[in-house]
């Protein structure tokens, strides 16, 4: 392109626009076309502008719905400067070139985010003229610079000063690309708004547009030969991307999967008691709650399966204190992949800093944000498409329906609920045995990822025994119903006293009878907690 001689400036967000216009006018003698509020702001600042309506000879109409939509404006932007026929037509029809378009759009997203906004107000906020101008300018980027974001004004000024009034080709291309991204997101937002307000089946619209902004290019994906990146959903209030990485090696794709599961399990366990969870391959290998201290919960969680806890992801629901860091890294010398907590005490950080490979992730106060986090939906790729669903964020126990003769106490409900949350977060089919302590409760055997119910109960029990835990007097949760009584038998065989599962099998009657025969309390809680 050559020097910028004529600019069209029409912005909703007026930040910085006066300063930009002043530089354009005073340093470079650019002719400025403008409309409405922008024109007024520039004139008030003593900057000479030409009203677009005067420039085109066409009036503004319909309360500003039609301002810049005119061949003299759009043609000024779209004409190809290096095409002799275009140049001749521009001359013949008096359509001088416009070299710079500065425009940002009506803030549709923030206006509709206000629940008081009416449908008419929302409709009025759909910008038509602005998108036309910036899309035209972006198409015409070989000749035109387009600035749809006030953040770029300083770059434009800098380049014009350095290049004698020109904007570089690279910058023009980048600005153009941003315009199409901005437009794509803008229209996606309108689509979803209309789907929610006007259509049926609002939660799962016919056309689903998801827009993500890249946060982080991973070194590799799930395996070494897969490329991958982590994206933030532009509609999310809170994202894993908002967690602060205080130190450590780069967070891998698989770390993110584990962090996601760990944070969600902590959300389920809540803040009522100091709590520790340890994940490995997106299933917990240890979890504990304790009335007395976070350290106590850490010790009992670790004791569940100390073998798997090596190289695990450790999560806490309280600020991480020095004693925990000492226990893990000094006393037990455990190799940890990721350590997660709402915050980290400076004395704890001192110890963590001696282990520079450990990723330290501070997630802040997620607990107060639970509702807004779970407003979003979960998505999973399926060949050529995706499965989209609500997060499984409802309380894990829908009802305390005790179906056995043997009843349960309030305290035992706590143990069973804890067991059920542990097995929810272990991959399906899953089962978790837990054991009370004097001051809390902890997992003693967690079975995950099995293809049959009886196997996973046996697996969980065998792990409890392997690590020397007392299974007598234990409590168990398993993530779906027993298709046969054999799974319950396997739990009773190791001394389990109460079991929670959703119920719903054809053989429920047999299962209940077996529970009674074996003097096991059995709760059908009405909610399945599969997780695959």
């Amino acid at each position: 392109m050559g020097k910028i001689k004529r600019a069209l400036i029409s912005v909703y967000d007026k930040a910085g626009v006066v300063d930009l216009a002043r530089v354009l006018k005073q340093e470079f003698g650019v002719e400025i076309l403008s409309t409405g509020g922008t024109a007024k702001a520039l004139q008030d600042a003593g900057i000479d502008i030409i009203q677009v309506s005067k420039y085109t000879g066409a009036p503004e109409m319909f309360e500003g719905r039609v301002k810049t939509l005119h061949p003299k404006v759009e043609g000024g932007i779209l004409q190809r400067r290096d095409n002799p026929k275009d140049a001749a037509e521009a001359e013949k029809y008096n359509v001088p070139p416009i070299d710079l378009v500065v425009c940002n759009l009506y803030p549709f997203a923030s206006v509709v985010a206000d629940p008081k906004t009416t449908n008419d107000q929302a409709l009025e906020m759909i910008d038509i003229g602005g998108p036309t101008m910036i899309r035209a300018a972006a198409k015409s980027w070989p000749y035109v610079a387009v600035v749809a974001n006030p953040a770029h004004y300083s770059l434009i000024i800098k380049e014009m000063r350095e290049n004698g009034g020109e904007v570089s080709q690279k910058t023009r291309a980048n600005l153009a690309q941003e315009v199409f991204a901005v437009m794509s997101l803008y229209d996606a937002t309108v689509t979803q708004y209309m789907a929610e307000k006007l259509g049926a089946g609002t939660k799962f619209p016919e056309m689903l547009v998801k827009m993500y902004r890249k946060v982080y290019q991973c070194r590799y994906g799930e395996n070494w030969d897969q490329e991958a990146a982590f994206y933030r959903d532009t509609k999310a209030d809170w994202s894993l991307a908002d967690a602060k990485i205080l130190q450590g090696k780069e967070v891998s794709f698989n770390n993110y999967l584990d962090i996601d599961a760990t944070v969600q399990m902590l959300l389920d366990l809540g803040t009522k008691k100091p709590t520790t969870v340890i994940f490995k391959h997106t299933s917990p290998c240890g979890a504990a709650m304790d009335d007395t201290s976070l350290l106590e919960s850490c010790k009992t969680a670790f004791s569940c399966d100390p073998l798997s806890a090596f190289g695990g992801i450790w999560g806490f629901n309280r600020p991480l204190t020095k004693d925990i860091a000492e226990y893990i890294f000094v006393e037990k010398k455990v190799f940890v992949e990721v350590i997660l907590a709402p915050s980290f005490a400076p004395e704890a950080m001192k110890i963590l800093q001696t282990k520079q490979n450990v990723r330290v992730v501070e997630f802040g106060d997620i607990f107060s944000k639970r509702n807004s986090i779970y407003k979003m939906q979960d998505i999973r790729g399926a060949l050529g498409g995706a499965l989209v669903q609500d997060y499984d964020s409802k309380p894990v126990v829908k009802e305390w329906k005790v179906v056995s003769k043997k009843g349960i106490s309030e305290k035992e409900k706590e143990y069973l609920e804890f067991a059920y949350i542990v097995c929810k977060w272990a991959k399906s089919n899953s089962a978790a045995f837990v054991q009370p302590t004097k001051t809390g409760v902890y997992s003693i055997g967690i079975g995950a990822g099995q293809q049959s119910r009886v196997h996973v109960v046996k697996l969980a029990a065998s792990k409890a025994k392997e690590f020397g835990h007392e299974t007598k007097g234990s409590y168990m949760g398993t993530d779906s119903f027993f298709p046969f009584p054999d799974g319950l038998e396997a739990a009773a065989d190791v001394g389990c006293v109460a079991i929670i599962n959703p119920g719903g099998s054809n053989k429920d009657a047999d299962v209940i009878k077996t529970a009674d025969d074996r003097s096991v309390a059995l709760v059908f809680c009405g909610k399945r907690v599969f997780r695959t």
Copy 2:
């Protein structure tokens, strides 16, 4: 809205447009404005139109870059019919209302999909006038009907005939919503094109726009209290949504997860031998290849873990024949959730029809489409965002690096590769023992979802023993390296003769020494196959 009196028709895709215009003109006396090629097509068909350039008094400029971008056109669309000030201005400036906009866009996506397309040609394909018209009409949906897709012409005609020349409010709202969805996708495509051609980081762009079309609203999600839907990616050449559901109960969310895994495992195993795989909870619980027949592979796959195979998802890589259906449903009387094959013989269908609950899914020739299927990327939700990665579609064996003293034969490579594919598809950590038969190879013990390597090897071995399989002389794959020799020991203890894994542990030297001590052949294949 009232009757449609004036329509603007300007389409790139001319399909059906003449018929639509004829109805508008002849049945409803609509005044038709048109431009360029559309105008010519309508006139050639003997339909009276008014050229937009004549209507506005402004010439077409710059080889069609500026045709409809005019206040008389855009104002005709945007004016609010129920606003007296707008009506007065429309009168004063002679801007009559336009009630119907029929327009589809330059086919940017398909043009740039052709590798021969130059940057200039691509730029020319970015539509400016069309988007402005349809966005204006979509904003103005309370007064205007907008049709951006020829598929909807028949609906417009039907409604006009039923409602005396009007289009219903509901339809106008739906059509408007579609316009913003179409525009969002269009500009996302342009963004990605520009990122690829002009910018860096092509595969994982800074802004990622995914657009999905709903295929199916699930009865519920992963659990009973989660709502869910299955969406097709609008960019996919092939999708699970393209598989035909020939009969059966409705396909559930979890069925789709299993179908996705089953189809992908079949893609990995390919078509060289008749093959059966059986999934449960997205991990295989049986798999077999056989030189002689599909039935033989079905029998040996089923024998691996007949307990888990109940309620499983059965997949085949050959047309499903009568003998298979007989074996499963008549002889063995297995309860099957889903049965998947490229196609189904009519005699097989006769048997399947006696089991109306069984979901029968015909996936067609996916094998020839492998490359195009895996051009897409996998996506996984993570709180407030998503992890996006290439599919793990490369050959599972990167290199045949035999690190033990004991070597392996070509035949043994087949067994090891088979074992490695089985363990790839079992959730991590995983291990799979396989055993040759006279005519093929089949899985005898599959361990999945474990939090430590040694546990999963023991689990896989214990399952082989539980179902009476001979583990002596077996082959094993496990999805990542041995952190210690104990996992290899556990395999050697049950008589395994050769093991495949990626290698890469700090303790590789110890592991290799143990392999030699135990006379086990050990292959480090250089590729990890985690799947979480």
